[in-house]
């Protein structure tokens, strides 16, 4: 399972495409800027290229190979229909700046997907262009800031629960806010009283994840929203966990003003080893006027869809806070997500959230006798089950259990997050896993829990059956080698 680097395999003369040989006497309008230096890139023939990447791919674990229970990351089945649709020439081979009359189908996709997202969340509008979840958070926070500024209210603070995704405080800070933590109550939920106590004229709003990162539904969401609104603030909801509640409760009904939706989590667009994502943001009536460019407007009478850009945003939509990205957003993800949504329909989406929550509770109750489940007594969980390292033998850690899972043929769960639980293990099975798979996972986890409690030293060096043993991350960070340093064969 060793595969050399392309720089070690290729040469500067090898090439996997056939192109005309450049002519020395060809016309040249590059002025004095023609390249003088070697780029020093390796080329491979096509067969070598296929083989290199095919071999590399086999060193990866993936949802196509087995359960991928990363809590909060929502690794569900990625339907191949989505991939097929995204590759239809009418979607894949269209330029973002073609005249509007030649892209009616693209605008139709955006319109249909927008409609679904708005209806599913009970909101008023949706900003489609954010490129991923964190970008969506930024969009939502900027909407809030734009709305506050529009009313001349320069609030400075955003409240974030300590269990929040790291992106939440980073986003608020990037948007120029001071971030303050709100504590959790003993059940792992936002402490409503502490929150209320902190509200005031300096608080722009709150960022709350619901269901939260402990896998629990924030029962007091409506009360939180009401309190924030009463104090003149606005409510951002991190929608990373929308998978658990779609079709069962609408964030808009709970007073949320803005929420991003990770199309690559809830709506099955592939994660691709770390992106691309897509993070449309649904907006309440209060925030809708501030959505970023570009957006579409559908004529209620004719059904015609208009594209609003810098040119025509003008007097009609003066509040838009501007552009967050070039072009229209992650169109390739829109087609996939819409395909997924249409496949499920309103009934299928509801079934999906039900199965996701059922699967998580099944895992919670199949393991809570051998693993500590910090909020297990608080009732049912949502789409993910949270455990801690409480009870492990000295020296045994969550990391060891995670690496042990690799040897059992599973991807590890999310480790050490949320921070509110010691040695957290957050397990999200999603709705696309069968009971048989869950049973196998439970069996593996039970055995690992016993070994961790018994202090089985072989766990400390797991994995033993993976393409690599544990990697030295400290060395990587101490003396970073971030690019290959040699020279490619000529």
């Amino acid at each position: 399972l060793e595969e050399r680097l392309i720089f070690e395999l290729g040469t500067r003369e090898t090439c996997g495409v056939d192109l005309p040989e450049p002519k020395a006497d060809a016309p040249n309008r590059l002025g004095k800027f023609a390249r003088q230096q070697l780029i020093d890139l390796p080329g491979l023939s096509e067969p070598e290229t296929v083989r290199h990447y095919t071999r590399l791919s086999r060193q990866n674990y993936a949802i196509d190979l087995g359960l991928f229970p990363l809590g909060s990351c929502t690794m569900k089945h990625n339907p191949r229909l989505n991939e097929k649709v995204a590759r239809m020439p009418g979607f894949a081979d269209v330029h973002p700046l073609q005249p509007v009359d030649t892209i009616k189908g693209a605008l139709g996709v955006i319109d249909e997907l927008s409609h679904w997202l708005i209806e599913l969340t009970g909101m008023s509008a949706v900003a489609m262009s954010p490129k991923a979840g964190a970008h969506g958070e930024l969009c939502g926070i900027l909407c809030i800031r734009a709305a506050l500024e529009a009313r001349g209210d320069a609030r400075k603070v955003v409240l974030v629960p300590e269990s929040a995704h790291g992106t939440n405080p980073a986003t608020a800070a990037f948007a120029g806010y001071e971030v303050e933590d709100i504590p959790a109550d003993k059940d792992g939920r936002v402490d409503l009283e502490a929150l209320k106590a902190r509200l005031g004229p300096d608080v722009a709003g709150v960022m709350i994840t619901n269901p939260n990162t402990c896998g629990l539904f924030e029962r007091d969401m409506k009360a939180i929203s009401d309190a924030v609104h009463a104090a003149g603030g606005l409510v951002y909801c991190d929608g990373a966990n929308f998978n658990a509640i779609m079709g069962r409760v609408r964030p808009g009904d709970l007073g949320v003003d803005a929420m991003h939706i990770n199309l690559h989590k809830t709506f099955s667009t592939p994660h691709g080893g770390g992106g691309p994502g897509s993070g449309p943001v649904v907006l309440s009536e209060a925030l809708a006027p501030y959505a970023p460019l570009p957006f579409i407007v559908k004529d209620g009478e004719t059904g015609e869809i208009h594209l609003v850009e810098e040119e025509n945003v003008g007097d009609e939509f003066p509040g838009s806070f501007g552009r967050m990205t070039a072009f229209h957003g992650q169109m390739g993800m829109f087609t996939r997500a819409l395909t997924y949504i249409l496949s499920h329909g309103a009934d299928g989406l509801r079934q999906a959230s039900g199965d996701a929550v059922l699967n998580a509770n099944y895992i919670l109750r199949s393991l809570d006798d051998v693993l500590d489940a910090p909020f297990g007594e608080a009732g049912h969980c949502m789409h993910e089950a949270l455990f801690s390292d409480n009870g492990f033998a000295d020296g045994m850690s969550t990391l060891d259990v995670a690496k042990g899972l690799i040897d059992e043929g599973f991807h590890p769960m999310t480790m050490y997050f949320p921070l509110v639980v010691h040695g957290a293990m957050l397990v999200e099975p999603t709705e696309t896993e069968s009971k048989a798979t869950l049973d196998q996972f439970v069996m593996a986890m039970r055995s690992l829990a016993e070994r961790a409690k018994a202090g089985d030293e072989t766990l400390k060096t797991a994995p033993h059956h993976a393409p690599r043993a544990r990697l030295d991350e400290a060395q990587a960070a101490r003396k970073p080698v971030l690019a290959w340093q040699g020279s490619v064969e000529g």
Binding site: L1, L41, G43, Y53, V94, L120, E431
Partner: protein, 453 residues
């Protein structure tokens, strides 16, 4: 539902284990008044794969695909031939359906690819270090501006008129909410890219100068001169590139004094896709600045058996560790697009990229010469790579729309890019890649001739 494996007997057995009567009971924490009893009203129900595919195909056919037109659009999104191998590789389930490589022992495929990608980008840009990708060129450009501010502790941002207006727009939007002071003037319809005027505006408050190479009108600015001027004032030079194929023919920005090079990688491997997902590239020439870089980084290390391996590293810069002190809020990057880029670049190699660039330039020169002969048309540029600006004797936008009706996508009207730009309405940005045939050029020339007569 075909994607849901649980059977009804499964569900019953599981509920029994949980001790709940129904799935609805599991949602007891949702206040009853907000819990929906059934599917959201007014929305369609589940549909078969065949039905959904038909519906989506019908929508797709309402777009004019580039392959069915004579196609000359660019302006930050380029149509190149993508080898079939690229799409095959990115559809390998092990790449397509993997997550961010948090568990390196079982993610070496993605990690080694990212290490190779970073090296390819760094070399293409003439830089020391590149990251594992950003959302796209426009957001990468803003991240570079913020990084420059962190490094210089200054807030003045000087943006060239040659920068893609969407990139400018993103920067202006973001700057509304942060402390950056952006100086930007619209470009003018001249052959000269305006380096002198730009240099004249660099001051001691300038954190960075942002220049596009080649610029939005296809002109090629003199990076070295601008770099020297910027550095003299203690400012950094950020170079944005929207067409990486150009760097097969042009000197790398990193070799001409740029401090940070950002760009859009879409042209290599990714395809048009109506504007996204694309691929932000980000590289720096001074490796000491790496801890101020945004985005994921993949680094080489060894495993417990001493074997070479790769991990995500320097994550102390990132939001999931640093939270509000992170260098960026970016989390998801553009991994699969980075793979597409890297596979295509591997197929090209030094030789292929050079030849591809030469072929683009050859055809673009051919097209410029031909179009310059059309009455009422003048080629603006002295220098260009594969796109150049035509000055027409009437407004370009309506003309572009009219030609589209006849299956000619003639390019991008400057009036669309700069709706409030004075004197730019007659400009038409024409892009000529290897996918354009000599017949296409003739078709465009004839169509322009007809439309302008």
């Amino acid at each position: 539902m075909r994607y849901l494996p649980l059977t009804d007997p499964d569900r019953a057995a599981m509920l029994e284990k949980i001790g709940a009567d129904s799935v609805d009971v599991l949602f007891a924490d949702v206040p009853a008044e907000h819990y929906l009893d059934g599917p959201v009203a007014g929305l369609p129900l589940a549909a078969s794969e065949m039905a959904v595919e038909k519906h989506m195909r019908r929508l797709s056919k309402k777009n004019l695909a580039a392959a069915d037109a004579a196609f000359f659009c660019g302006a930050g999104a380029y149509r190149h031939h993508v080898p079939a191998t690229v799409d095959h590789i990115i559809q390998r389930g092990e790449f397509l359906t993997a997550y961010t490589p948090y568990q390196p022992e079982i993610a070496q495929g993605t990690l080694q690819m990212l290490f190779e990608f970073q090296t390819q980008v760094a070399r293409l840009y003439g830089c020391a270090v590149a990251n594992a990708s950003m959302y796209d060129g426009s957001t990468a450009c803003w991240e570079a501006i913020v990084m420059a501010a962190r490094l210089t502790k200054r807030r003045g941002v000087l943006i060239s008129g040659g920068l893609h207006p969407h990139y400018v727009s993103v920067a202006q939007t973001m700057a509304r909410f942060t402390d950056e002071a952006i100086a930007y003037q619209l470009p003018t319809l001249e052959a000269d890219p305006g380096d002198d005027a730009l240099i004249a505006r660099i001051s001691d408050d300038t954190s960075c100068v942002v220049v596009q190479y080649p610029d939005i009108m296809g002109r090629i600015p003199d990076l070295q001169r601008i770099a020297d001027a910027a550095h003299e004032k203690g400012a950094l030079l950020i170079v944005a590139n929207t067409e990486p194929v150009a760097l097969g023919a042009l000197e790398a920005p990193g070799n001409l004094g740029a401090d940070i090079v950002v760009g859009e990688g879409q042209a290599i491997g990714v395809g048009l896709q109506f504007g996204g997902p694309y691929l932000g590239l980000f590289a720096i020439t001074n490796p000491k600045h790496v801890r101020q870089m945004p985005g994921r980084l993949c680094g080489e290390t060894v495993d417990a058996d001493g074997k070479r391996g790769f991990v995500l590293t320097l994550s102390t810069r990132e939001q999931h560790i640093r939270r509000e002190k992170a260098t960026s809020n970016i989390c998801t990057n553009s991994g699969l697009c980075a793979l597409a880029f890297s596979v295509h670049m591997t197929l090209l190699g030094e030789k292929g990229l050079t030849a591809l660039a030469a072929e683009n330039h050859r055809l673009a020169c051919l097209a410029a010469d031909r179009l310059d002969k059309v009455p009422g048309v003048r080629v603006l540029n002295d220098t260009f790579f594969n796109e150049f600006t035509l000055v027409l004797d009437k407004e370009a936008r309506p003309l572009v729309r009219k030609l589209a009706e006849h299956g000619v996508l003639a390019g991008v009207a400057l009036g669309r890019l700069f709706p409030h730009g004075e004197g730019l309405d007659d400009g038409l940005l024409v892009t000529v890649t290897e996918t354009v045939t000599e017949d296409d050029i003739e078709t465009l020339a004839k169509s322009l001739e007809e439309a302008l007569s």
